[in-house]
């Protein structure tokens, strides 16, 4: 459905001023819009969710896969990702100091 100018203004105003509302919008757009008495169509919600998925993917892609640059606990997960060969030598350069 289309929004009136007043609804549109209210929606953008709420996005700008209310962090919790933004969070809700990021997870359940239809539920968030419903709080303002706005009903999003399936395609509108689908489009927002699709944009969110792209951001989500981008965030995931930016997570490191290199134990050498990973911080404190995370590096353990990465180092041990492919653990299995007990006699495998330590990764080269694993003595290098890395960020916490």
């Amino acid at each position: 459905m289309s929004l009136t100018i007043a609804e549109h203004t209210e929606l953008l105003g709420r996005i700008a001023s209310d962090r919790q509302f933004r969070s809700l919008l990021l997870t359940s757009p239809r539920k968030a819009a419903c709080e303002l008495g706005i009903t999003l169509s399936e395609s509108e919600e689908g489009q927002i969710l699709s944009g969110l998925r792209a951001i989500h993917r981008d965030g995931t892609d930016r997570l490191p896969s290199d134990a050498q640059t990973a911080p404190f606990l995370f590096s353990v997960l990465l180092t041990h990702d492919d653990a299995g060969d007990e006699d495998e030598d330590p990764p080269k350069g694993s003595e290098r100091r890395r960020p916490h």
Binding site: I55, H80, E95, P99
Partner: protein, 323 residues
């Protein structure tokens, strides 16, 4: 998904550098039900991707039966599961082998031993060496994590040589960060830093749930601040927490641009004097900003503005407005 669960704040040590002030006096912990639910939700969210679960604390071996159950449960959910310990339990080589064999049989893929000058005031080096030897004996990979101060008795090469000869598969060396136990302090000369403000993006966010359920974007010492909190994993669904972990404004800025993105606003508000002249790493800069209430508030403003622009654009692209 990579999920770190700090399952307990209880610890038999009270290390000066422990940013979460864990110790014998602490008893807060995630319940068995909460831990299982988080692993179940994570497995469901993860779909066909590999779920990686890291168990830490506090000292997770102090509740060994629970640790075994959690490892089994995570394995049953096809997760790769690892844990971090201080190795206090290696009172004899036989006992160390026995505990590690039980964990390996339960599905533990590997583990890490955390040690340092601070740990060694409570846990003798000999126990760490026994645990490393036992890990070789039972065929369970072990990483030694070492927190370094500037005047450490062992240099990096020395630590590596000691740890690998004792049985470590890998050695990871971390500079001390200035987020110490409540009330503790360390001389400025303890910190290993380079002059200037580091550049670079967040090198490794991991969804971290603390013993009280609060969830954060990172598990580095100093990261448990409002700026880096992404929700409450025992009150909210992990789905919502995970969504903020990925699409939150702070999180996106840290991954896309790094904490340096906040500097312009910090300078514009004449707060640059709150920054230090040297840092150990980009994580040191990030946690410094996050821990300072004024700098943290400025970073929040910048991130909020980013989030508002992004969410508004998303909504604008999806809806039609009629006059």
């Amino acid at each position: 998904m990579k999920l770190a669960l700090l399952i307990t704040a209880h610890c038999n040590a009270g290390c000066t550098h422990c940013s979460t002030s864990c110790g014998p006096h602490r008893s807060e912990h995630l319940s068995r039900e909460q831990i299982f639910r988080l692993i179940d939700e994570a497995a469901e969210l993860n779909g066909s991707e590999k779920l990686r679960v890291l168990l830490s604390g506090g000292e997770p071996f102090l509740a060994f039966d629970l640790l075994l159950d959690v490892v089994r449960h995570a394995r049953d959910k096809r997760a790769i599961v690892t844990c971090v310990t201080n190795a206090y339990w290696a009172t004899s080589i036989e006992k160390a082998r026995d505990l590690l064999r039980q964990l390996k049989a339960a599905g533990l893929r590997s583990f890490a031993i955390s040690t340092s000058r601070f740990h060694q005031q409570f846990i003798k080096r000999q126990r760490v060496e026994r645990a490393l030897q036992a890990s070789r004996d039972v065929g369970l990979r072990c990483t030694l994590k070492y927190v370094r101060v500037r005047d450490d008795s062992l240099d990096e090469r020395g630590v590596r040589s000691w740890a690998t000869s004792a049985g470590a598969h890998d050695v990871q060396d971390f500079p001390l960060l200035p987020h110490l136990r409540a009330g503790a302090s360390a001389p400025e000369s303890s910190y290993i830093r380079d002059a200037g403000v580091p550049t670079g993006t967040c090198p490794g966010a991991i969804l971290t749930v603390r013993e009280d359920g609060r969830a954060f974007t990172c598990c580095t010492p100093g990261a448990f601040t409002t700026l880096l909190q992404v929700g409450h994993a025992t009150r909210d669904s992990l789905r919502d927490v995970n969504a903020r972990f990925h699409v939150g404004g702070v999180q996106q800025i840290l991954r896309r641009k790094g904490p340096g993105e906040f500097l312009e606003a910090i300078r514009a508000r004449a707060q640059a004097h709150r920054l230090r002249s040297s840092y150990a790493s980009v994580c040191d800069l990030c946690t410094h900003i996050a821990a300072d209430p004024v700098l943290g508030a400025i970073a929040t403003e910048v991130a909020d503005a980013f989030e508002v622009r992004q969410v508004s654009a998303l909504v604008e692209s999806a809806i039609t407005v009629t006059c």
